[in-house]
């Protein structure tokens, strides 16, 4: 019985959280804000970071004893969905999942965690490296004698931050280091993305860095943080496709051709219904995955599997929903003046980030095979 009461209370907390996040984003201008920021050069708003921090957003999944709200990943997922609905350009998921995810696991007492939760500083996390045909399997960015040498790729939110958390290879395995944005020997190349944001390619040549953590814990924390972020990116996609679906549903009710709303044509009705089903499945999947990831008994491998499942499903749904939504808009859907294109573009970026659906289906099956073998 107790369990059920707790669940109900949790659900109520999440509902309130969703409501307040939605109000905050809507007041700020919804997706119009994203369009304005994109047109102004693809930056995000520092004011929004402060406002979100004030609402406790960045610490939502951080344990209370480390200065967070301790509400878990499910709550972070609720926020990520709201971020997706308004395609907010701030690196919210990357901050919650990667930056804060690493800091609170590896150096909870470092002042940086408090500042990141408080929105006083925004950091980007650099962990992947580019190989000749895609993501490099190993790590060749080296940390030695207080200096970093090498390169990192696909750094979300890399342009405009105060500094970087960099996962590198130390003398005894992985290390987590911190590099200031203006550090000597650091070069940041922002590659423009479909939604106007930039993914950073970072290179270091004897760049001074602060050692934050080392040892086996770094590898473990990174794996967990990447799982979290992947699942949260899935939640962001679910929010995005949910809103895209609402937009197209409105459109097909109002656009008239052949003297009736196009939503009166059965093929349009069926297509809209299929998208709706797809959206509901994606939302249920992602929410379930997040809440299972919150369970104490879920080990790292199972968390990774759940995250992959969520990202695979959400990626498929968001791509299909935004593309079909453009199709059902006709030519106006292909313009920049209508909002639906913003959603299509953002879906492209979010789907590629941290691996698309094909990639995650493979990881999912690999993880499942492994767990099966262990069982």
């Amino acid at each position: 019985m107790k369990q059920t009461e707790e669940n109900t209370q949790d659900q109520e907390d999440l509902r309130l959280l969703r409501e307040s996040a939605r109000t905050l984003f809507d007041r700020a201008g919804g997706n119009d804000r994203a369009r304005k920021l994109r047109d102004a050069g693809g930056r995000w708003s520092a004011g929004m970071i402060t406002e979100l921090a004030g609402a406790g957003v960045f610490g939502v999944a951080v344990p209370d004893e480390n200065g967070g709200l301790g509400m878990g990943l499910a709550a972070a997922g609720v926020l990520a969905e709201e971020v997706g609905r308004v395609i907010a350009p701030e690196p919210i998921v990357a901050t919650i999942g990667l930056t804060i995810g690493l800091l609170h696991r590896l150096c909870p007492d470092h002042g940086m965690l408090k500042k990141a939760i408080g929105g006083e500083t925004v950091l980007a996390t650099a962990w992947q490296e580019r190989g000749p045909t895609g993501v490099a399997p190993g790590r060749s960015c080296r940390f030695a004698g207080g200096k970093l040498t090498g390169a990192k790729a696909w750094v979300s939110g890399a342009v405009g931050v105060e500094g970087y958390l960099v996962v590198a290879e130390g003398d005894d395995g992985a290390v987590l280091t911190y590099v200031e944005a203006g550090a000597a020997g650091l070069n940041v190349d922002g590659r423009r993305q479909a939604d106007g944001s930039a993914l950073g390619e970072l290179s270091f040549s004897a760049t001074p860095a602060e050692l934050l953590a080392e040892g086996a814990a770094v590898e473990a924390a990174l794996a967990d943080a990447v799982s979290d972020t992947t699942a949260l990116a899935a939640a962001e996609l679910v929010g995005l496709s949910g809103r895209a679906f609402e937009i197209v549903l409105d459109y097909i009710k109002t656009r008239e051709q052949f003297d009736k709303p196009i939503g009166a044509f059965q093929v349009i009705q069926h297509r809209a219904t299929d998208l709706h089903v797809m959206q509901e499945v994606a939302q249920a999947t992602v929410r379930e995955a997040l809440s299972w990831m919150d369970c104490a008994g879920t080990d790292a491998q199972a968390r990774a599997r759940l995250a992959s499942r969520a990202k695979a499903r959400a990626g498929v749904a968001a791509k299909k929903i935004t593309r079909d939504a453009v199709q059902m808009h006709g030519a106006v859907g292909y313009t920049d003046e209508f909002d639906i294109g913003l959603f299509l573009n953002r879906a492209l970026v979010l789907s590629a980030w941290l691996g698309d659906d094909t990639y995650h289906r493979r990881l999912w099956l690999d993880a499942r095979d492994k767990e099966g073998a262990e069982r």
Binding site: T133, Q257, F258, V267, I268, G330, A331, G333, E337, V349
Partner: protein
């Protein structure tokens, strides 16, 4: 004049390929956007001098008069080398219509100017309230002395900001009992006070289509093609040219070539899943060409294409979209990145291809409309 059709396929292919390879400007290969005429003018001059501007037109009008098989080879080589179509609405759309319905005077005047690109054309059909339901168009043309006076608005007019002329459907008899009656097909110059063009940005950030406003614009009455108030039937004939053109394998072939070199560079061919999906796409393209050849032959024999030509467009545009989606997949974490992606010594603009593929299922009669046509006119389903 060379009789291309008398050559063997291999010889013809070699000849076409050699010309593109030696003459086509390197900087225009696989152009990711729709060019203005100024950007491709130097290439157009070469093509014109060679007599290759209109591969499908009969030789008597300055075309190459290619058979269906040769035409396919021409398009294949064009796409393989990444040769841009240039500003070809005149060649692909008005030209065939004038050849079919125009008077001798109209042919003599307009056709050479299309070939030389002295006139650059845009297509003024769609209006804000007349997209799929094209017959709902409201732009008026009234006879005033020797002229038509045009009032109204067109939209989605591709490259209207870089065109000298517009071919358009206008309402000439608002009192006709049916919407499809009372529509005429006219040609009009763009450079005049009563015509105003506003560009519209696409979601890819390009300015390739426009709104065109007509406020007392004029065009001589002799620019009516075909009979007054009979424009609808003719436009439908033109639409079947458009459909076979959009239904041609070229865009998908080009994308497939890009996918292949990109995926090789990315090592994607080591992956059995990718191999299968690539093979599917490649066969979708090849097998489509088999169907396409059937229609291209009909056209060559001078037969009118039936409603079933819609099949080509449905198949190839959706195939084109899948290919570009595979490119994004092969790009992995770079899949959201704007601009050319470098792999080895090739560079492929994955997003540009993706964006190009999206509207192909919307324009030229959306794929939903094509399916409606097929189910009623070909399958004979009720409703």
């Amino acid at each position: 004049m060379t009789d291309w059709n008398a050559m063997t396929d291999e010889d013809f292919r070699r000849e076409v390929h050699q010309f593109f390879e030696s003459e086509y400007p390197e900087e225009l290969r696989h152009l990711p956007h729709r060019p203005t005429f100024a950007e491709v003018e130097h290439w157009h001059r070469k093509l014109h001098a060679k007599g290759w501007v209109a591969p499908a037109w009969p030789a008597e009008y300055g075309g190459m008069g290619l058979s269906a098989a040769k035409l396919l080879i021409f398009y294949e080589e064009q796409q393989r080398w990444g040769v841009n179509r240039g500003r070809d609405m005149g060649v692909q759309m008005v030209g065939p219509l004038i050849i079919k319905f125009g008077t001798q005077t109209q042919k003599d005047y307009w056709l050479p100017r299309i070939l030389s690109c002295e006139d650059i054309w845009c297509q003024g059909y769609s209006e804000p309230g007349a997209g799929s339901d094209l017959a709902n168009l409201r732009t008026r043309a009234e006879i005033d002395g020797d002229d038509f006076v045009i009032n109204g608005q067109k939209i989605w007019t591709t490259m209207a900001h870089d065109a000298t002329h517009i071919f358009m459907l206008v309402r000439t008899d608002p009192d006709a009992p049916k919407k499809q009656q009372g529509i005429s097909f006219i040609l009009a110059p763009m450079d005049q006070p009563g015509v105003e063009v506003r560009t519209i940005r696409t979601l890819a950030g390009e300015t390739e289509f426009c709104e065109v406003f007509f406020d007392g614009a004029r065009t001589p009455r002799e620019n009516l093609v075909g009979e007054l108030n009979k424009g609808w039937t003719m436009a439908k004939a033109l639409l079947s040219f458009e459909r076979i053109f959009i239904g041609s394998p070229s865009l998908a072939q080009n994308a497939l070539g890009q996918l292949e070199s990109f995926a090789r560079g990315r090592g994607a061919f080591n992956d059995p899943v990718f191999r299968d999906r690539f093979a599917q796409a490649a066969l979708d393209v090849e097998d489509h060409a088999a169907l396409y050849a059937r229609y291209a032959d009909q056209l060559k024999r001078g037969e009118t294409l039936g409603a079933d030509v819609s099949m080509l467009k449905i198949w190839v545009t959706e195939c084109f979209q899948r290919i570009t989606e595979l490119m994004i997949e092969a790009a992995g974490p770079d899949g959201g990145t704007i601009g050319p992606l470098q792999v080895g010594n090739v560079s492929v603009d994955v997003l540009a291809s993706f964006y190009k593929a999206r509207p192909t299922t919307i324009y030229g009669g959306s794929n939903e409309i094509q399916r409606n046509i097929l189910s009623k006119a070909v399958l004979g389903l009720p409703g």
